[in-house]
Structures are given as C-alpha cells and as structure tokens.
C-alpha cells in the first residue's frame, strides 16, 4: 500500500522503446498529411496569378505549422512511445503533445491482434493491440519490429490464456 504522503510519486516510463524505424514511419505519415497541403497552394499560386499573394500566404501558414510538425512530431513520439509487460500487467505510453499511459491487468485482456498497414510494412513494422472489455481500454503498441510484434503477441496470448473468465 502507498505511503500516507504521496509527495513526488510518479510513473516511470515503460522499459522498452519502440523500433527506431518508427521515426521514419511517423515522418512518412506526417508527410502524407502535410505534402498535399503544401503542394496544392504552390501549384495554384503558379497557375493563378491574381490570387497569388493569398495563396502564398496560405502556403506560408501551412509551412510554418507543417514543417516543424514533420520534423518534431516523429522524434518526440519516439521519446514517449514505450511499452512493457510483466506477469500481471501490460503498460504502454504514447502521444506527444498529449501523452497517455495505459495499464491493464493480464487477466482483463480479451483479444490480442497485430495490424500492419501498407506504410508500416514498408518500414518493416507492426502494431500490437490488446483489447479489454472496456470500450476505452485497448492498449496499442505502434511501430514495433515485425518479429518483435509476433513475439509480443505470442507472449500476451500465452499469459492471457492462463487466466480465463469473461474479463469484465
């Protein structure tokens, strides 16, 4: 049980980082979002002379927000995204501006899935999702090495199989 004075109590980060290649994956995702927003006004500015000042202004606005996003977000995420399993629980950390730590006991985990989107596959990555009976509860470890993800799924499946109930 905790001490009466919780002063200074804090969560330590989960033990394992995700794969370094996740930085590339997140950068690619960010580029897919930002690039069209940059290209569209640039092309239009080249074609539409009368509207050029406004389009260049829009381009500048997107660039001011978008370029730091592409550069900063993936590295920031890489520092935050971590995961860990113990015999009793799964523990994940995710996010960048808004960060989130999730803990779920093994006994409450219902399903374990891997997802490999096309972009993740290009980087040889996979995500593992462990769902619980709560609509708000899934724990996601995104950007794991593919082999690592397979091992994690096997581990989680084995541990959760040991404890059966309806997990609600």
């Amino acid at each position: 049980m905790s001490a009466t004075d919780p002063e200074g109590l804090r969560l330590r980060p989960p033990r394992h980082p995700v794969d370094r290649r996740a930085v590339g994956w997140w950068t690619a995702q960010a580029l897919l979002l930002v690039a069209p927003l940059l290209i569209a006004p640039a092309v239009l500015a080249a074609l539409l002379v009368p509207a050029r000042p406004w389009l260049l202004l829009a381009l500048a606005a997107v660039a001011v927000l978008g370029v730091p996003y592409v550069l900063v977000m993936p590295r920031w995420r890489y520092r935050v995204h971590r995961w860990e399993t113990t015999d009793e629980a799964v523990y994940t950390a995710a996010g960048w501006l808004r960060q989130e730590w999730r803990v779920a006991p093994m006994s409450r985990i219902q399903t374990v899935d891997t997802v490999r989107g096309p972009l993740q596959r290009m980087f040889g990555l996979a995500s593992v999702t462990a769902t619980t009976a709560s609509a708000a509860g899934p724990l996601v470890v995104a950007g794991l090495d593919r082999q690592r993800a397979v091992e994690l799924v096997a581990l989680l499946t084995e541990r959760t199989e040991a404890e059966r109930g309806d997990a609600t």
Partner: protein, 488 residues
C-alpha cells in the same frame, strides 16, 4: 421446460389491422374538413385500404411461419417470409428479458418480449405473446442462483416526483419536437383556415413585448405541461424491485407498460446525474452502471435501460442508489476537492467558450448594428457566465474511495457522480496534455466494461492521482511507480 416449437400469439394480426386502419378515421375527417373532392377522397381511402390489406396479409403470413422455443441450452426464433431466418441465443448468455405492452397489446392481453445478451443487435424479439406466457418466459430465462438475500421493493413512484420532469430539459425538448412535427403535418389545415394570417395581424396589433412574450410563454407552458403528461405516461406505476433471481426489475408506464430487468451480477455501480435545472431544484436522475446494457432499448423518447428511477428529489435518488449498491449510504458528499490549478483551467475554458459571443458583440458594435454599451454588456455578461461555469465546474470536481467503491464527480451542465465498483476497474489511463504538464496535473481514467467504458477523475496532481489509483486497485500500478528517495 417446453422445448417444443410454439407459435406467437395469433392476436397480433387483428392488432395490426386496428393499428393500420385506425389513422384512416382522422385522415378522412381532415380531408372532409379541408374540402377534398370526392375523387381525391375515394382515392386516398382506397389506396389506404389496399395498403392495409397488404400489410395485414403479410403480418398474418409472418405469424404463420414464425415460431420460437426454449430448450435447456438455447432460445430460438425462426421466421421470415422471404428470407428465412433462424436466430438462436445460448441461454447462459441471456442478460435481460424485457416486456413491453402498448395500450392495444394490453387490451388484447399481449406483450412483446425482447431477450437480450447485452451485445448490440444481438437480441431476440418475440412480437408478441400472451401476457402470461411473457411472464413465464421471463421467469424461466432469468432463473438463476439467488445472489442476494435482500429482495423486495427498493422504490415506488411518489406522484409528486413527476413535477421534476417539468424541469427536465430532455423531456421538454421531446414535447416541443412533437408539437413542431404536428404543426408540420397539419400545416395545410392551418393555412386553410387562414390562421397564419390572423396570427400575423394579431401580432402587429399588440405591443412588441406582448407579441414576443405571449408565444414564448405559451411554448414554455405547453412544454412543461407536455413534459408532465409524458412523464405520467412513462413513469406511472413505477416500481423498482430486487427479485430473488438476482435481478433488478423496473416496471413502469401508464398506457404502455414496460418491465425492464437488469442482472445484479452485471452491475458495476450507480451514477447520479444532475442536469443544471434539476440540480437547482434539488432533483437528480439515477442510472445503473452495468455491463452489457443496450442503449435506447425502449425506443424514441424512452429512458435508457440503465435508468433506475424517474427524476426525483436528490435525497430519494441517494437512498435508492445506496439500496441498489447494497450499501448503507451513497456517499455523494465529502469528496476530495481538486487543486487550484484545476480551477484555473476551468475558468480559462469558460472564458474561451464565452469569447466568440464577446467577439461577435464587438464586431456588431464596430459595424454599427448595435450601440457600444450593448456590446460591452453582452461581452461582460458572457465573460461572467463563463467564469461562473468554470467556478461551478471546479466546485463539482471531487473524488474519494468509499468501501468497495470509487467515487468521481464532475460536470457543470450535467453534474455526474459515479460510484464505480473497485473490482469493476479493468485498467487505468493516465492522460496529460501540454497545459496539464505545465500545471502538474493529469486526468486519471478508470476503464470498465460498463458503459461508457471510462470514468474520469480530471485534473488531479500527478502524485495524488497515482496514489489514489494505487489505493483503489492495490498492486496494479505499483510495479510502474517511482517514489522519490528520502532526502533526510
């Protein structure tokens, strides 16, 4: 028991015939009053009758091919006219057996039985069987080991409670919606009598305050009276009982009688919801927090299946909540307040919400649409309301542990106090935005299989949140916590 295929009650066919033919009478009257020609009149009545014959015929055929049975392991329903269907639920997954009887059903001694498993869309609907058969099915399907020794009535309607419905905005809105749609469909008739024109002339002939005030007053009164009538229909004869099968049972309804069951085993807590108007008048609503509740089981304008009590005085709501939880009291007071940084965040939020109003007022003044002093007044008023909402939201924040329960209270528009079973917590989420990080706060969220899945304790100091979580579910967070070294 039984185990044989049975037909639904044949009286559903005449019931539909009455239902389809019924509206023909007022329609005919409206047509006659509106002065429709004989040709139009004949065509409408003829088409209607043809449709009625088709519908009733289809219903009769559907009845003919439908049958259900309850075996030792399963509940099954087969039917379907064009596409044959066969629905089968394992009995051990049956979570609820709800009965509904509208006035026509009651007249004929019928009831609709909905057997639910808690999963969305996975329910079996017997429409309809004889009343006695419905009760027998309910008793048979919900028969389980007794889980509680305290059986009997937990609450009964006191008619004076229905007054709280008059200040329940959702019901008033429902009434206004009904009035609006009635106006929509009777618009032609109203036009015919020239009521719009007369109303317009009348409005011009009286002072402005009366022309605006009178309709508003009429709408308000109609809304409140309508809400009262609606609540009488919904809640008349309300009882909440705990049965020896380990279920909570709500029975209610003046014309349409409903019986809604909730397994005690699936109960994870109780929530008290106090919308602003209800809170000001000392009332509250009481909801079950339970797993496998389907939402809006009763249909449009019906309270959810989680509703345990009509809007009622707070004291009564607290008493029923405690009785449902099996605790001596529902400790809604004496919660731990949240830090001042949480107050600051809430006031900022209130002011941000007020900002568009203030900006709109400023723009209007700048364009000369309204005098400057009005704009200033509006801006000050908006800021005042925003700040007050922020202060109220902070005052409403609170959390504590009480026996087997975690209590969390929040909200200003609707203040919600949730008492969640600590054993029903199936994980934690700790969330922190950039602004919260600077203020040293986090949102602590307990996840649960019961809807809505997350129960938040917003804006607590990080260390207090972790300590609280660790006390609520000892051991779960422990391996991931760091305690500072003692310096001295």
């Amino acid at each position: 028991m039984s185990g044989e295929w049975r037909r639904l009650d044949p009286r559903v066919v005449p019931a539909l015939a009455v239902l389809v033919a019924g509206p023909l009478v007022p329609t005919a009257v409206v047509l006659l009053v509106a002065g429709a020609s004989a040709g139009v009149f004949g065509a409408v009545v003829g088409i209607w009758a043809a449709i009625a014959v088709l519908l009733v015929g289809a219903r009769a055929a559907e009845w003919y091919v439908s049958s259900y049975r309850v075996t030792a392991e399963r509940v099954e329903l087969r039917g379907g006219l064009l596409a044959r269907s066969h629905r089968s639920l394992p009995r051990d997954r049956v979570r609820s057996v709800d009965l509904t009887a509208d006035p026509l059903h009651r007249l004929l001694g019928l009831a609709v039985v909905v057997v639910g498993t808690g999963a969305q869309g996975e329910e079996l609907r017997l429409d309809a069987v004889a009343r006695a058969e419905a009760d027998r099915l309910r008793a048979e399907l919900l028969r389980r080991e007794s889980t509680s020794d305290r059986t009997g009535a937990l609450a009964r309607l006191r008619p004076v409670w229905l007054l709280y419905s008059a200040v329940t905005m959702s019901m008033v809105l429902a009434v206004w919606g009904a009035i609006a749609s009635a106006f929509g469909s009777l618009s032609d008739l109203v036009q015919k009598f020239g009521l719009y024109r007369e109303a317009g002339e009348l409005a011009r002939s009286v002072p402005l305050w009366l022309a605006i005030g009178a309709p508003v007053a009429v709408l308000l009164v109609a809304g409140v009276l309508g809400a009262l009538l609606l609540s009488v229909e919904l809640w008349w004869g309300f009882t909440l009982t705990r049965e020896d099968t380990g279920t909570l049972r709500v029975r209610r309804g003046l014309l349409t009688r409903r019986s809604i069951s909730l397994e005690q085993r699936r109960l994870r807590g109780v929530e008290l919801a106090e919308p602003l108007l209800l809170r000001w008048t000392g009332g509250a609503r009481t909801h079950a927090i339970a797993t496998g509740l389907s939402e809006h089981a009763g249909g449009k304008n019906q309270p959810d299946s989680k509703t345990l009590l009509p809007p009622a005085p707070r004291a009564a709501a607290l008493r029923v909540a405690a009785a449902v939880l099996g605790e001596p009291e529902f400790p809604a007071d004496g919660l731990v307040a949240h830090p001042r940084a949480a107050l600051r965040r809430r006031i900022v939020r209130g002011l941000l919400a007020a900002a568009p109003v203030a900006i709109a007022a400023a723009v209007a003044a700048a364009l000369g649409w309204c005098p400057v002093w009005t704009a200033v007044l509006v801006a000050v008023l908006a800021a005042g309301i925003g700040t007050a909402a922020g202060v109220d939201a902070h005052r409403n924040l609170g959390h504590r542990l009480h026996g087997r329960y975690l209590l969390a209270r929040r909200g200003t528009g609707v203040r919600r106090t949730a008492a969640l079973q600590r054993s029903g917590i199936i994980g934690w989420r700790i969330e922190q935005s950039v602004f919260q990080r600077r203020a040293g706060l986090v949102d602590l969220v307990a996840t649960s299989a019961a809807k809505p899945g997350r129960f938040a304790v917003p804006d607590v100091r990080t260390a207090d949140a972790l300590d609280f979580a660790e006390q609520a579910v000892p051991g779960l967070l422990e391996p991931f916590l760091e305690r500072p070294e003692k310096r001295d």
